[in-house]
């Protein structure tokens, strides 16, 4: 059985960045313990520091600015056609949506709701958007997430490709140009969609993405790969 029917969690409650209940592994004989307490960000995210962050061993980008989710109800993901997703993810929800780099903690008004950007490092290869929203007591289903990171390259690197996996559909831009689109009811698999060759400039490169999901466990993973499919690792991420 799968998650099919959407029941959007109504009412984003007050965000709680404090460490709450860290959930341990399920244990034999444990009774079902449904809880309404928001879990901590800690298993999947940590606060950033001033040191630029290198990609992980496989080249995955693990430092991101994430915007609290924009509510966009979708009962099923089967409607995520290219046309629908492109319309949904290129709609202007907030100022500077397609330019610049937001600041950690910056608030925007998107689709009539006050939302905040969060600068976070991820502990895994993927960015667990569902857990991000859940930990902030924000809607987890029927949502759009925006993500931005800054890739600092020590030199110009040509013929690299952006390799993306996302749950569910998403669109990704590198230095303001669309690089990859993932349409349909996507599940996340590394290197699902790979961009045409592009060039990372020496210095700052902005990677921007938007992920839309209905009844699914939103996440994404992003890395750059070279002509041979090997990860680009001699880059560093900061959010300035």
């Amino acid at each position: 059985m799968s998650d099919l029917l959407l029941q959007v969690r109504a009412g984003a409650m007050a965000a709680s960045l404090a460490a709450l209940s860290v959930v341990g592994p399920s244990s034999a004989g444990a009774a079902v313990a449904g809880t309404t307490e928001a879990p901590s960000l800690a298993p999947y995210f940590s606060a950033i520091d001033a040191t630029p962050k290198a990609p992980d061993a496989d080249g995955f980008l693990q430092r991101w600015l994430l915007l609290e989710p924009i509510v966009k109800p979708n009962r099923s993901n089967t409607g995520f056609t290219g046309t629908y997703v492109r319309e949904a993810l290129t709609t202007q929800y907030f100022p500077s949506q397609f330019k610049g780099v937001p600041r950690d903690g910056q608030a925007v008004s998107a689709a009539g709701a006050p939302l905040r950007w969060h600068a976070l490092d991820t502990t895994l290869f993927d960015v667990k958007l569902f857990n991000f929203a859940q930990s902030l007591s924000k809607p987890t289903y029927g949502v759009i997430f925006w993500a931005v990171t800054v890739v600092n390259s020590p030199r110009e690197i040509s013929n690299v490709r952006l390799a993306v996996g996302s749950n569910s559909a998403s669109i990704w831009w590198v230095n303001g140009k669309e690089a990859a689109g993932l349409f349909g009811d996507r599940r996340m698999v590394m290197d699902d969609v790979v961009s045409a060759p592009l060039t990372l400039h020496k210095g700052k490169n902005i990677v921007r993405g938007a992920v839309i999901n209905g009844p699914g466990l939103s996440d994404f993973c992003v890395r750059f790969i070279d002509e041979d499919g090997h990860p680009i690792r001699d880059i560093a991420l900061d959010l300035r």
Partner: protein, 482 residues
């Protein structure tokens, strides 16, 4: 373990139940999330989401039946010793029900409600999810290998997890902790073969009829707790998974794999299709051949209706009527070698009338010979209407193309072609795909044998009906386009 080992018997008689044209099973095979098929008291059982299940005498015709208390979703069944263990999940499964769930175990010594051994005994909860953690403890699947009992569970909500159970009691081993083995997968199943553990599961969307994109994927590992990798080396924990089978033809969204090991190099698997377009696009049980290629499981295919050369894997010889060879004219203008001196034009193939002019009226012996693209070597294979079937495949009639002259078994275990198809058991054939992709051809008639007889090339040119040897090419056949 969605793994069922059945001994083939001659007692499996097909029930004559109507099936829609082109259907892959007969009866009323309506089910979602079927368990591994289990054999009990001479019948086959599978249980799905909800309380009930399906029962069959032959694996072809299925009716509602069986009793499984406890409700919940997506059970699995495994027989260990004299117990049938049943795992099922209560709770979870989605937003409306949340993701807090328990996987429970119970056992019975018979699945037949009429048996004195029937009666479920509760073992209790062996795994759970609390509704917040990245796991939804539903869709359990057993694996019993090397004396150890494993259970995978989970869905798209977070991780697929593996725990170890005590095969003597069905309880979780003391101190055992769940291990994450995959993401973005559900309806898992486990296999063990030749030193590899296989984790299968579905990707895609379920429960949306012909809009469902469910498909079955697999990764493998040398240890039951992973890491499981696909054919590209992508971990299932990073979304990998090699395709086993997807929707095709008039059925959409296969999911919930369950192994059916029929022995003798023949394996099939059960699943549900999210939508069978011949049955109002409802969710139904499906059974198909399972192949193995480079140590990967792969969905096979029943032979489709059509006209074929039936080629022996032993000799390459074509199954044919043992009739006089009729020559075709050749162009000898200017000698045979080199270009012809005049115009060039297409030449007609030999017709059935030309080939059959001298055929005897009665039964004709059948032998094997070089394939010469002649009508007496080309067989039309079609499901025999109303004749039943066996584990996912109907009984077929096999006739010389363009005629009613039918391949038939004889009492002395030879094969002949009789003048007309009558529907007798001697003229009905099981055609089962083997794990290497070739086919075994078996008459429905037992011909007095306690074990099924198969079409076997006992010589390079001599086919008879004999005991099937899975280690030999003598009983393997290929259906080639003519």
């Amino acid at each position: 373990m969605r793994h069922l080992v059945f001994a083939m018997t001659c007692a499996s008689l097909a029930l004559l139940s109507a099936a829609p044209a082109g259907a892959q099973l007969a009866g009323e095979p309506y089910i979602h999330d079927p368990s591994t098929i289990a054999q009990s008291d001479g019948k086959y059982y599978t249980f799905g989401t909800g309380r009930g299940g399906l029962v069959s005498d032959d694996g072809w015709t299925w009716h509602a039946g069986g009793e499984r208390p406890g409700g919940g979703v997506a059970p699995d069944v495994i027989k260990i010793g004299d117990r049938y263990y049943v795992a099922y999940a209560v709770g979870g499964g989605g937003m409306n029900g949340g993701h807090a769930s328990n996987v429970k175990i119970m056992w019975t010594k018979s699945l037949d409600p009429k048996s004195p051994d029937f009666g479920y005994h509760d073992v209790g909860v062996v795994a759970s999810s609390n509704g917040v953690e990245d796991c939804d403890a539903i869709d359990p699947a057993f694996l019993y290998a090397d004396g150890r009992l494993w259970l995978s569970y989970g869905t798209y909500f977070g991780y697929i997890r593996m725990v170890e159970l005590d095969p003597k009691s069905g309880e979780r081993l003391s101190g055992n902790q769940p291990v994450d083995v995959a993401i973005d997968m559900e309806a898992t199943a486990l296999l063990y073969r030749d030193g590899y553990y296989y984790l299968l599961g579905t990707h895609g969307t379920c429960c949306d009829g012909p809009n469902s994109s469910y498909n079955i994927r697999v990764g493998r590992s040398r240890t039951p707790t992973g890491p499981y990798l696909d054919n590209m080396g992508i971990p299932l924990l990073k979304g990998g998974g090699k395709l086993v089978v997807a929707g095709r033809g008039r059925v959409f969204g296969p999911g919930h794999f369950g192994l059916i090991d029929l022995g003798d190099g023949m394996q099939k698997y059960s699943m549900h299709y999210e939508a069978d377009m011949d049955r109002s696009a409802r969710s139904v049980l499906g059974i198909q051949p399972l192949l193995w290629k480079d140590n990967w499981p792969l969905g096979g295919d029943n032979v489709g209706s059509g006209t074929y050369e039936i080629q022996s894997a032993r000799s390459g010889g074509a199954l044919e009527l043992a009739v006089d060879f009729v020559r075709m004219p050749i162009d000898r203008r200017g000698g045979f070698f080199g270009p012809p001196p005049g115009s060039v034009s297409p030449v007609a193939m030999q017709t059935l009338a030309q080939d059959s002019a001298a055929w005897p009226a009665g039964p004709i012996d059948v032998d094997l010979a070089d394939y010469m693209i002649r009508p007496h070597q080309q067989w039309t294979v079609t499901p025999a209407a109303g004749a039943g079937g066996y584990f996912g495949s109907p009984y077929f009639k096999i006739v010389i193309a363009g005629t009613d002259r039918a391949l038939a078994a004889t009492a002395d275990r030879k094969v002949v072609a009789v003048p007309a198809f009558t529907g007798a058991d001697e003229q009905l054939w099981r055609i089962d795909q083997l794990i290497d992709g070739t086919y075994r051809i078996t008459p429905k008639a037992s011909l007095g044998s306690k074990t099924p007889l198969a079409l076997v090339a006992i010589g390079a040119s001599t086919p008879v009906l004999a005991k099937f040897d899975p280690a030999s090419d003598a009983a393997r056949w290929e259906f080639k386009t003519p």
